[in-house]
Symmetry: C2
Subunit: 380 residues, 2 copies
């Protein structure tokens, strides 16, 4: 294990919102009890002012850094950014990451048991929004006794949660780093999500979402949804330089319906490995939450939305990201500037597309270290 690793970590679980104190969801429905799986790295200081809340993207989980077992081949999903001396320096900060509600990695979601019926929720699980996810995280912060979060950070759907936090709970957010995200999902992104959901729902093994006891799962449908996703995560340029028209394990065309091109093989691999670690129903719920996300809902304009926020922002986009294009980040930045809020905006030149938020770690580390040095001075 490297010196800059947080080492062996353990996922913790919190249960709250037990009846009759259920969580009131945006849809009007109630949910409870709710479990949240979360991990923490570093030590919360005496004044409880050094907390960094990491919000994960569609397929992420609470395991953001370190290893669960010494034999683990891979560390947590954002290990490159979290640890001693790293961007989120665990010598200085107390880093928290929780699995979103609706997910399948320990937090309450469609694969959880409904305590009333004693059966898996499946599609009887209520629709969850980004605001609902954030509401559950707020309860986690309350539980940890954290009244002011030093910074909230996340890419993609994680960035949506960052934005929602600063709007829903302005007094609790000292600073915020929304990365590769958007104030609302575009028509094109909704379209891609919907096709993915149709692929899952059309799978013969989906069975209306009640597949948990079956030997066969809606794996083909979920793999297809994931394949669509992966095309949108890469830029045309990065796909070209990564694969071009190179053939997979052959010198010439097969003239059959086999995998000829490396790019096909890559997508198959991404699809097949995803179904081993993700629940199809959670994919439906989380992608729907992203579709529903519109930070301005309930406000008269984007400007009014950000009128009462108190956080200082570092907004980051990536030049070749066409799923969450820079123009979307600029909408956030413009609204903040119209309100004379503190905001630094960087559009990082990158050819990696949306995936850049996980790949451009050197640039992100440099930017985030500088930003945190500034904002933490005021509070630590």
């Amino acid at each position: 294990m490297k010196k800059d690793s947080v080492g062996i970590v353990k996922t913790k679980y919190l249960e709250f919102f037990s009846p009759p104190h259920e969580l009131k969801l945006e849809s009007g429905e109630k949910l409870g009890p709710v479990h949240l799986a979360y991990e923490t790295y570093g030590t919360l200081n005496r004044t409880k002012t050094n907390a960094v809340l990491v919000l994960h993207a569609l397929s992420g989980d609470a395991h953001a850094a370190g290893y669960h077992r010494s034999t683990d081949k891979k560390p947590g999903w954002w290990d490159i950014m979290i640890g001693p001396g790293k961007a989120f320096d665990t010598h200085k900060y107390y880093v928290i990451c929780s699995n979103v509600m609706g997910g399948c990695k320990g937090s309450t979601g469609p694969s959880s048991i409904n305590p009333i019926t004693k059966r898996t929720y499946g599609l009887s699980f209520p629709i969850i929004t980004i605001k609902d996810m954030v509401k559950a995280q707020k309860a986690l912060m309350d539980h940890l006794g954290i009244k002011k979060i030093l910074t909230l950070v996340g890419g993609s759907m994680g960035g949506m949660q960052v934005l929602q936090w600063t709007v829903s709970y302005p007094d609790m957010c000292h600073s915020a780093i929304p990365i590769a995200t958007a104030p609302y999902l575009s028509a094109q992104s909704i379209a891609f999500d919907e096709v993915g959901r149709q692929a899952i729902i059309s799978d013969p093994y989906f069975k209306g979402g009640n597949y948990y006891k079956s030997r066969k799962k809606p794996s083909r449908g979920l793999a297809i949804a994931r394949m669509i996703g992966h095309i949108t995560y890469l830029s045309e340029k990065s796909m070209h330089s990564k694969f071009g028209r190179n053939l997979q394990d052959k010198a010439k065309y097969s003239y059959r319906f086999l995998t000829d091109f490396q790019v096909e093989s890559y997508l198959h691999h991404q699809g097949d490995s995803f179904v081993k670690r993700f629940d199809a129903n959670s994919y439906l719920y989380i992608s729907k939450a992203m579709d529903y996300f519109d930070i301005s809902q309930g406000f008269s304009s984007m400007n009014e939305t950000f009128a009462r926020v108190k956080a200082k922002y570092l907004v980051v986009s990536f030049s070749s990201d066409w799923l969450f294009p820079p123009a979307q980040s600029k909408r956030i930045v413009n609204a903040l500037r119209q309100n004379l809020k503190f905001v630094s905006y960087v559009d990082v030149p990158s050819s990696y597309g949306h995936d850049a938020f996980l790949l451009e770690s050197e640039t992100l580390t440099r930017l985030i270290k500088k930003f945190l040095a500034t904002v933490s001075k005021e509070i630590l």
Copy 2:
């Protein structure tokens, strides 16, 4: 019926390549007999020098203009461009359009009966390439006694055929108009095609391609493939201005897995209507032909590919087309210019994305009329 319509037309059928004179395919396999469905509009002149060959895109057919019955609600797919006084003026030109081999609109394809087994080909149908499609069209030209084609025109996959014609049969092509096309399919486009094929193949009613006698067809899979296609045909901007985040027949979110957004409803409609008119196996074969297309195959470079062409070119791309981006058209143009060939190139400013080749008919009409006036002077 409008005055500028070609009126009531009839699809014609030609049978050739009967054993033992089968068509030798690029894969090495033989196919025969081959049927081509085709339509013609206007009159072939005495010298047989006024022929315009229209090549269709993925889901097109031979019915490019006019009406089959006076009760038809819609004319042929490119009626706006073909007819008396239109871009392809049927007072002057003899316009021919044939359904591609591998298709399902009258030409031999996977839904045809294999004359040897007396059963539907299904997946036993051989893989077809763009070069093969063009080879069959060449036989149709021979049959019609046309030795020199005034111009060849087509968008998207139609443009691929145009390019292939000018390279395979340089002496037969007087001029060529490849629109919204590419010298080879990009990794990103191959990726989208492959996901579409996976959706079809994974459909429980696909049954290895032998679904013709079944009541249930792989309609869900084909609809999903078409939905993916439609996302790539529109630009992000046109999707935004067409749908934005507008809700479909409701004032607020349903908080259920229903169609909330207009863009979802649009895609469902496109998918559902497509399955009524298209064969899933043909979708597999034709998309594969597009993936395999690389005009430079067998040549040492793009420049060498176009060294022996004789046609004059009008190359057209559309600024917001991200499936067949302008950069791809520029590769063709550059190679032609390196060889000092006659080429006019126009990148039409348009927000319609790839669909522009069917929508920007006014601009296309203006460009094509001017181009045809010039090139037809030399031959008519």
